[in-house]
């Protein structure tokens, strides 16, 4: 029974929570990079001691940190995210055109195949890749230069590329999601991209069947069934069974189909988790009850998971990167809240308990299952 390491990014630093496979007793280490926003940190599946972190600040910009000892110590690596060529323009909120400008790294996705290779999703939306452990970054500019690029528009949180999903066996096949442009797929390692938004039917935009313009919040996949993708959209929980060619809604009996994270169980490809939020203007759970919803049928039929979660007077939010699962035999599920709690379940969501209660607002949660 190996160990468990939970990597938590918050508004004011990063925290590393560790336990054994029993996941009862936790050690909290941090804050790392105190005072800085840590949008995301994630470990390499190839070398779990290698962790990448995005440290950002409205004052001092973007810093990328790298650890080679499981988060005990860190070193700064490259932070030059210069767009390839002339950046061009995208739409601003009012429909006017505005030049692409780098703001921050939202998401770091270490390669499934090589510890030195890592992808970065940034605001304004673009995808970067490093093959030298984060020292140098090169834009995979075919995405930003897609014909639809000038039509892309920011969501409320900015025009960010926040989701990067790798195919488990084909390193040339990637999925990304951009708020509020939608989902895109490459099958040639990032050279060319196509929008994959058929069926999203976003009622809040002028043409609900538009090729782009959809506010996708997150996508997840189970490696045993990589043609099936799950999506939490601004409104609506969606499923694709053909690698993103088409989508259909699986919101079913959820109390609200607005939310941010969506996560697939480690061992059950049809078991998926969401956290319903009342609405885009409320950003807290319906009825003041914090409920994770689980479907064991790939969507449509959902059950509320409440044991150990506050069921009154709870008005926190759970952001898109703030939920993850471990790989232990009894799958652990973890999520962090805007109130600074990190909740963990050792039994696939049947029961929950907090690991910590009083961190800064949680931006991201990732889990490493250690040998």
């Amino acid at each position: 029974m190996g160990g468990t390491r939970v990597l938590v990014g918050t508004r004011k630093g990063a925290f590393v929570l560790t336990s054994d496979g029993g996941r009862s007793d936790w050690t909290v280490d941090g804050p790392h990079f105190p005072g800085w926003e840590v949008y995301h940190l994630k470990g390499s599946p190839v070398n779990p001691d290698r962790i990448y972190a995005s440290q950002t600040s409205g004052w001092f910009g973007q810093v990328i940190q790298r650890s080679d000892d499981g988060g005990a110590s860190w070193e700064t690596v490259g932070n030059d995210f210069t767009y390839d060529g002339v950046p061009g323009e995208h739409q601003w909120y009012d429909g006017s055109l505005r030049p692409w400008a780098f703001t921050r790294v939202w998401h770091l996705e270490p390669s499934l195949h090589d510890a030195e290779t890592v992808y970065a999703g940034v605001e304004d939306a673009a995808l970067f890749k490093s093959t030298d452990g984060g020292a140098q970054w090169a834009e995979l500019s075919g995405l930003r230069q897609h014909d639809t690029g000038p039509q892309w528009q920011p969501g409320a949180g900015g025009m960010c590329l926040h989701t990067i999903v790798q195919h488990p066996t084909d390193p040339d096949r990637l999925y990304v999601a951009i708020s509020a442009a939608g989902a895109f797929r490459t099958t040639d390692g990032g050279r060319t991209w196509e929008p994959i938004n058929k069926g999203l039917r976003s009622g809040e935009i002028p043409d609900e069947d538009s090729e782009v313009g959809h506010c996708v919040h997150r996508i997840d996949m189970h490696p045993a069934n990589p043609d099936v993708l799950y999506m939490q959209k601004h409104w609506d929980v969606m499923r694709s069974k053909d690698g993103g060619d088409t989508w259909h809604e699986v919101s079913g009996n959820l109390p609200s189909d607005f939310g941010f994270p969506i996560t697939v169980h480690a061992h059950e490809p049809e078991t998926v988790y969401v956290v319903p939020i009342l609405s885009d203007s409320h950003h807290f759970p319906p009825d003041g009850r914090l409920r994770v919803y689980r479907s064991r049928t790939g969507g449509d039929e959902w059950e509320a998971l409440t044991d150990g979660l506050p069921q009154e007077n709870c008005y926190v939010n759970v952001l898109r990167d703030a939920m993850a699962v471990d790989q232990h035999e009894s799958c652990g599920v973890y999520f962090g809240t805007s109130g600074g709690q990190v909740y963990a379940s050792r039994d696939s969501g049947d029961s929950w308990s907090p690991i910590v209660r009083d961190l800064p607002a949680v931006l991201s949660v990732e889990v490493q299952t250690l040998p």
Partner: protein, 105 residues
């Protein structure tokens, strides 16, 4: 970072950037030629490459919006990057101060 040769300029960094650069207290950087915001920051970033992009925007090389420059009790933030810095900075009698602007409510 030494005080031998050229003009050695004292620079005070805000705490968050001292943490990034792993330094304590003020630093000295050697500037060859005219001592200006640009040459001081160029020398600082050469000595501490991890500070690139944290004081000046990577793409535009302009001062980041919430970073300010002070010296000799004056706000030099809106001076031209190539304007000479005060003689007391050049003579290392006063430091060039880089400050995170007070912001918020």
């Amino acid at each position: 970072m030494n005080d031998i040769g050229g003009d050695s300029v004292r620079v005070v960094l805000p705490a968050h950037l001292r943490a990034i650069a792993r330094i304590q207290g003020e630093v000295r950087v050697d500037v060859s030629g005219a001592v200006t915001q640009r040459t001081v920051l160029d020398a600082l970033e050469t000595e501490f490459p991890m500070l690139r992009g944290t004081i000046r925007d990577r793409a535009t090389a302009r001062r980041r919006a919430f970073v300010r420059f002070f010296a000799c009790g004056e706000d030099l933030s809106h001076e031209e990057p190539d304007a000479p810095l005060p003689e007391r900075v050049v003579q290392a009698e006063e430091p060039f101060r880089i400050i995170g602007a007070m912001a918020g409510g």
